[in-house]
């Protein structure tokens, strides 16, 4: 009886935006008389940080400090359409909508500033809340003064609206699944390595270390990206070794109905996590960003399953990898069936073994 160590790796990809697209997000922005910015968008913040990310995109695009931004996603009367916070779409799709709205606001600020300074707006830029003449930084006017001039002098509202919609990608041939357009906004990539310990007496799998590498396109806010990746790692760990609504699936008996009877991961399971971020900008994401929110829990389960094999030589391919499953696998020590060039694992759980002929998985051989 001993504790064995093992390592497994996985590489994954995940699309940004709804599959097949067709999922609009819209935003509108207005400027208060002192230059402070009100953003209205319908994107729910589910803890993913979309209020923060969209505020950063607006601040960057207009050229004003982050704390000038008020972000309002509170209701469907004042905020325009956002399809929703899912499909890893908030940063990319909704982010592009606020970016487009902010670009229009920036243009309007430059136009009014041009009148005030008597300079062609094309020769002006906005830096840290001030409109300055390119190459002549002594000629400038603060965005607050521009907004005041618009309100009290020119009788104008500085505002802008933006919308992002990638057209629906149609499946033109249902036999082959071919589509007429890329069925996503971007694809993100990640790799993960898991180091585990497996106790061959108790069957307990302990995830000791997760190494994770994500291509995020552009980290709009590195702290929030790391939060997504580390939080996702814990959810992936739960999928890999702990969580199950139906402990004896397909049976519906023994469902846990309280926190004490459902094994969600807690701080005591937290392994060492190392996060590596690379930035390979997306061609059309806001500032090159891609969505990575959801994929953050996809790479750990296969890395853990592979690490368990590396540690004790058994494949557990029904998640989660509980002590009971590890001990049963160690006891059975199942070898794949080999016939000619075929190497067949898991035959006892295949449809070929369980179905009464209603469905088969036939392999050309």
């Amino acid at each position: 009886m001993a504790v064995h160590t093992g390592r497994g790796i996985a590489a994954i990809e995940y699309p940004t935006g709804m599959n097949q697209n067709g999922d609009p997000s819209q935003a509108w922005i207005k400027v208060k008389p002192d230059g402070r910015i009100d953003v209205f968008a319908g994107t729910s913040d589910i803890g993913n940080g979309s209020k923060t990310i969209q505020s950063q995109i607006v601040a960057e695009t207009i050229g004003v400090p982050y704390d000038w931004i008020t972000y309002d996603n509170s209701n469907t009367d004042s905020s325009p359409v956002c399809t929703g916070t899912f499909a890893s779409r908030a940063t990319f799709v909704a982010g592009n909508a606020v970016l487009k709205a902010a670009a229009k606001v920036r243009e309007k600020i430059l136009e009014i500033a041009g009148k005030e300074l008597e300079i062609d707006p094309a020769d002006l830029e906005i830096v840290d809340g001030e409109v300055v003449a390119k190459g002549a930084p002594q000629k400038k006017i603060g965005v607050p003064d521009v907004a005041a001039a618009a309100t009290w002098g020119h009788g104008e509202l500085i505002t802008g609206a933006g919308a992002q919609l990638k057209p629906f990608a149609t499946i033109v041939d249902p036999e082959t699944g071919r589509v007429d357009l890329p069925p996503h906004s971007a694809i993100s990539y990640a790799g993960c390595a898991a180091d585990v310990e497996v106790d061959d007496e108790t069957g307990v799998v302990t995830v000791k270390h997760l190494w994770q590498c994500y291509d995020v396109g552009r980290a709009i806010n590195p702290t929030l990206v790391e939060g997504q990746i580390e939080g996702g790692a814990m959810q992936g760990l739960g999928l890999g070794v702990l969580e199950n609504c139906y402990p004896y699936y397909p049976s519906v008996e023994h469902r846990g109905s309280q926190f004490g009877s459902y094994l969600a991961p807690g701080m005591e399971q937290m392994p060492t996590i190392d996060t590596i971020i690379i930035e390979n900008p997306s061609a059309d994401g806001p500032y090159g960003a891609k969505g990575i929110g959801e994929m953050a829990n996809n790479a750990q389960p296969p890395a853990i399953a592979s690490a368990v094999f590396d540690a004790v030589g058994v494949w557990v391919t029904e998640l989660p990898i509980t002590p009971e499953k590890v001990l049963r696998a160690l006891e059975a020590k199942a070898e794949p069936r080999r016939a000619g060039k075929l190497v067949v694992f898991d035959e006892e759980i295949s449809v070929n073994a369980v179905s009464d002929g209603g469905i088969r998985f036939e392999v050309p051989a």
Partner: protein, 456 residues
């Protein structure tokens, strides 16, 4: 000061960690009634009798709502994608999962609401249930859904999602080894700290204000408006700050029923699911059954993949046809496999309907295909890093549905991962890039699959 790329503080972070953020359950509206649901006590039954008169006559009960009160009983959440409606807001003729709502009551206090639910007279004729997706296709399986045991409304009324690419038979003929395995990730709960909850207020101007924990304000607005057959200006959804969603709050679980109760009684409604309801009756991540056979060469090329997926949708379709389609589009993972034959079915069972959850449709296929990759490496006795880098998708390769990759990043992330954790890759592997294939990385079986990156 640059805003993009900066570690700026979370917009609402201080409010969250000091407990001052207002979530739905923090909204207090005087005069609100308590809401409770009568739920199916069994997995599958015909409803042979439903009498709410006793409950309605109880002191302190202001409204009882059943299927009869819903202007549009069945609404398809993804009708825009051609996925028709199959699920009634409240059960009408039958119940298909334990916990399915049949009636909702609104009462002065929680005790009265619970007593009113118990006073509803419900007669059921129990029927055999189906739980194992592998048995759903058998001749003796109970038929549990109006469309049969699996979803029959994909394009061209196909009963499965298919992907076909290249010449699968030739790939398996040419293979040195065929590696076959089965992968079954579990159903899991979303486990939000904030259970499904809402507050609905009938306003003096005739509108309904819906305080909602939805992940999708406009999605929920559309769902409620459709069931109630109202224009969007009659409703106002208030929310945008969610106490944990992870996909489960794409469902509009409480809002529509509370709107019906509010309209019937003229009183504000408050419904917060108990922790037990959240665990047992809110939708889950789907369990999946996946079988993979890969046709591979001794030196580690994957020539072809055959795959069968059974997606356990639970009692109704909800978002499952969408999830399965997304799953099928990604069944080669981060790699290029030129010859494919994928069949996927959305299978109905008598469990709580499954829904979106972080990684929807792809979490399952990533687990299956990546564990399978590790198995292939082990069977072939090839370094798992090498197998992945060799088969990684590259610019100019094509996806399962024929789209040319312009921005693949498998090679960069795998190399950066190895470097970051101090794994020494061979010089050959270190020299790999995501660029267009040539030389040793363009073997004969991949020549025909290259696309033009300029096309997309």
């Amino acid at each position: 000061m640059k805003a993009v790329g900066a570690r700026l503080p979370r917009y609402d972070g201080i409010a969250h960690v000091t407990g001052r953020t207002v979530f739905v359950d923090d909204v207090r509206v005087p005069g609100s009634l308590w809401v409770k649901a009568l739920r199916s006590p069994v997995h599958h039954a015909d409803i042979t009798g439903l009498d709410t008169s006793q409950a309605e006559a109880m002191k302190g009960v202001h409204a009882v709502v059943t299927w009869k009160d819903v202007p549009l009983l069945e609404y398809g959440h993804l009708s825009a994608l051609g996925i028709p409606a199959d699920e009634p807001l409240l059960a009408k003729d039958n119940v298909r999962y334990k916990g399915q709502p049949i009636a909702v009551v609104a009462a002065e206090d929680e005790e009265t609401a619970i007593a009113a639910v118990e006073a509803i007279d419900l007669d059921l004729s129990e029927k055999p249930a189906l739980f194992d997706v592998r048995k759903a296709f058998d001749a003796d399986a109970p038929v549990i859904h109006q469309w049969g045991n699996w979803y029959p409304h994909f394009e061209a009324e196909m009963d499965r999602r298919q992907i076909r690419k290249g010449d699968i038979d030739r790939a398996f003929d040419d293979a040195d080894v065929i590696v076959q395995g089965v992968y079954r990730p579990a159903a899991i709960e979303h486990v939000p700290l904030e259970t499904q909850s809402c507050q609905v207020v009938p306003e003096a101007n005739g509108r309904l204000t819906i305080y909602s924990c939805t992940q999708a304000l406009y999605f929920s607005l559309g769902v409620v408006a459709s069931h109630l057959q109202l224009p969007l200006n009659k409703l106002k959804v208030v929310g945008g700050t969610v106490g944990g969603g992870f996909g489960g709050k794409v469902d509009t679980a409480t809002e529509t029923m509370c709107c019906l109760l509010a309209r019937k009684s003229g009183r504000p409604m408050r419904w917060r699911w108990t922790r037990e309801e959240e665990f047992l009756y809110s939708s889950t991540r789907a369990p999946w059954h996946m079988e993979i056979a890969d046709a591979v060469t001794k030196d580690g090329w994957i020539l072809g993949r055959k795959m069968l997926t059974l997606h356990d949708s639970g009692a109704y379709a909800r978002f499952s046809p969408y999830g399965l389609t997304k799953h099928s589009f990604h069944h080669t993972g981060a790699y290029t496999i030129p010859n494919l034959s994928f069949d996927g079915y959305v299978v109905f069972t008598n469990r709580v309907p499954t829904t979106a959850m972080r990684g929807f449709g792809v979490t399952s296929v990533s687990f299956a295909t990546e564990t399978h990759m590790s198995r292939v490496a082990e069977v072939l006795d090839i370094d798992p890093w090498e197998l992945r880098l060799k088969n990684a998708n590259r610019i100019g390769d094509t996806s399962p549905n024929g789209i040319t990759y312009t921005d693949p990043s498998t090679v960069p992330v795998v190399k950066a991962l190895a470097e970051g954790m101090g794994v020494e890759l061979s010089a050959d592997l270190r020299a790999m890039s995501r660029d267009l294939r040539e030389g040793d990385l363009l073997p004969q079986h991949l020549v025909g699959q290259l696309g033009n990156p300029e096309d997309h």
